[in-house]
């Protein structure tokens, strides 16, 4: 069974450093994509924003505001250095600094995603584990049907169904629209979070549930679990001490995916519930062709992916002795 191993045992730290550097490279490339997708397109962004029949002096004013009168390469570097200094420019629609706008909206979105993840992850683990231990029994099959249907549905469909059930046609227990007046603490508006968070949870729950179920089933069949049983270890302990710790490892990456997925999901969900967060800021900005805001939100979204994945890699290494220790 010998087969050459042409990797040398890399220490976890060195590997992580390599990943971090790669992450920085990815972030740079992301900024290029965002810039190319918006500002560097053929044609004049100023005209695209104001429309073809705009007065020439207004177009010129906007060109100056956006710094479009220098070569494209320099525009990019000006914009990039601004971002690195935390300056995303000024919103064209509200004339305010983009960073200020993003701070208030961002807090709301962060709370929304955090709340959803805090519900989704433990519930999926419980449901997935419960289902795995009842493999092929009715309980497991009903979880299968539920997750198959839920995975298939786009968030806005799930959200609309929730609105129909809880906020309009069937009952009116909850608000269909999330009102959080600007400048007020979102903590006073808990009911505004319920339906958007529930939508995000239902959209991501099936994926993580299935992931953990599969991982548990695999681990429960592992030789070391059988060995623990043959040692006379009590079933409770077999599951909690031998199966779960190993089954949890893949769910770290899975949870990272859920988080980044939610970050994208807020665009539709916030629009649906008119929730004042980053997602609805993006749709508003696109409707207004508010270039600096669009660029800022796209960069933030993508950066989040890089950071979350890096964290997940780190956690996976911490949880896996084989990766953590440097011995071959």
């Amino acid at each position: 069974m010998e087969r050459e191993q042409n990797w040398s045992p890399v220490q976890g730290g060195a590997w992580l450093l390599r990943r971090a550097l790669l992450g920085v490279a990815t972030l740079l490339m992301i900024s290029v994509v965002v810039f190319l997708g918006t500002q560097a397109l053929p044609g004049d962004p100023a005209i695209a924003i104001l429309g073809r029949d705009a007065a020439p002096d207004r177009v010129e004013l906007l060109r100056q505001q956006l710094g479009l009168n220098v070569p494209v390469i320099q525009q990019y570097f000006n914009w990039l250095s601004g971002i690195l200094h935390g300056d995303f420019g000024r919103s064209l629609a509200s004339r305010r600094a983009v960073s200020g706008l993003l701070a208030t909206r961002g807090l709301n979105s962060l709370l929304l995603v955090g709340l959803s993840a805090a519900i989704c992850i433990p519930v999926s683990l419980a449901l997935g584990g419960w289902s795995a231990m009842r493999r092929d029994k009715p309980a497991d099959l009903s979880v299968w049907v539920l997750t198959t249907v839920l995975t298939a549905l786009p968030e806005f469909i799930v959200g609309m169904v929730l609105v129909i059930l809880f906020a309009t046609t069937v009952t009116r227990l909850l608000p269909a629209v999330s009102m959080i007046p600007e400048g007020e603490s979102p903590f006073y508006y808990a009911s505004a979070f319920i339906l958007p968070a529930l939508t995000l949870v239902l959209a991501t729950l099936p994926y993580l549930t299935r992931l953990f179920r599969g991982s548990m089933i695999e681990v429960l069949q592992a030789d070391y679990v059988e060995m623990a049983r043959l040692k006379g270890v009590m079933e409770r302990r077999v599951v909690l001490r031998h199966a779960v710790p190993n089954a949890l490892i893949p769910t770290v990456q899975g949870s990272a995916l859920v988080l980044t997925y939610m970050a994208g999901g807020i665009v539709v969900v916030e629009y649906l519930f008119r929730f004042p967060g980053l997602g609805s800021a993006l749709t508003d900005a696109i409707a207004n062709r508010d270039l600096p805001v669009i660029q800022a939100i796209a960069v933030i979204q993508a950066a989040l992916y890089v950071v979350v994945n890096l964290l997940a890699d780190y956690l996976t290494i911490r949880l896996t002795p084989r990766l953590r220790t440097s011995h071959g």
Binding site: G37, A48, L153, M160, T260, Y271
Partner: protein, 266 residues
């Protein structure tokens, strides 16, 4: 399997044949706005007094062709990237995977919106960007399976007996990828529908007064309390479509694991 096929067939039937069966044109004023179902308008009317049934029958084609096209292009692109990356065993693999990571960093909807923001809501652009956002996801799966297969000696055996690279990719590798690819295409189709309809729902897809399921949900949701069918009917169509494609993907992957593509132990 049968359920999934029936659901998908139903939606395709409605999307393709719907326009011929519709009692009214999608933009015709039929009755007062938000009228409840009646003999004149079986599913009632929308906020502009147009017949909901006719709009549903007319509103499926755009979702259907756009998601099909985006899935097909994305799968082809992703398969090519994944095969090359997985088989190359060189720096090409690292570079391709890094590039996919850049695309993956953008949530699919955000990537589409980014390009739509300046170029405007053009359908070909949406199809193109959705397919580009699918490609890395397909590529990763294909690369993973390819590496798994390449690590089995039969590929090396083919190399030692002098099979040309093109034949190795197309005749030795690709047949082993068919099942996982079909599952992946089913899943990608489910996502395509969701994204395409979602973009319409956000108002950046097909533009009014044309009818489209995603757009209808968005247009009619303010009248939900007066007339729920304007939302319910297109919502049901999208749901049936996505659940159908997902069930098909599920069925393929189940039947594949029953056959067991892996060789038996000795």
């Amino acid at each position: 399997m049968a359920v999934g096929t029936a659901m998908v067939a139903l939606v395709i039937g409605v999307a393709v044949l719907g326009p011929m069966l519709a009692p009214h044109t999608p933009t015709q004023f039929v009755q007062r706005p938000y009228a409840l179902p009646s003999a004149k308008a079986l599913l009632g009317t929308d906020g502009l007094g147009r017949d909901v049934l006719s709009r549903v029958l007319n509103g499926g084609f755009s979702v259907l062709w756009m998601s099909l096209a985006a899935t097909a292009i994305g799968a082809a692109l992703g398969t090519t990237i994944g095969l090359v990356a997985g088989y190359s065993r060189s720096i090409i693999d690292d570079v391709l995977m890094w590039l996919t990571d850049v695309v993956l960093a953008f949530p699919q909807v955000v990537l589409v919106l980014l390009f739509v923001s300046m170029l405007g809501p053009q359908l070909w652009l949406i199809v193109l960007v959705v397919s580009i956002s699918h490609a890395p996801r397909v590529a990763r799966m294909v690369r993973g399976v390819t590496i798994e297969i390449v690590n089995q000696p039969f590929i090396e055996a083919a190399e030692t007996i002098g099979v040309p690279t093109r034949d190795i990719l197309l005749r030795e590798l690709l047949p082993n990828l068919v099942t996982p690819l079909m599952v992946e295409i089913g899943l990608r189709m489910t996502w395509s529908i969701g994204i395409v309809a979602g973009i319409s729902f956000l108002g950046f897809g097909i533009q009014p007064p044309a009818s489209d399921w995603g757009l209808m949900i968005s247009e009619n949701r303010d009248g939900l309390i007066l007339q729920p069918f304007g939302v319910l009917a297109p919502l049901a169509m999208i749901a049936v479509f996505t659940i159908g494609t997902n069930l098909l993907a599920e069925a393929i992957s189940r039947s594949a694991s029953n056959i067991g593509d892996v060789s038996p132990n000795t």
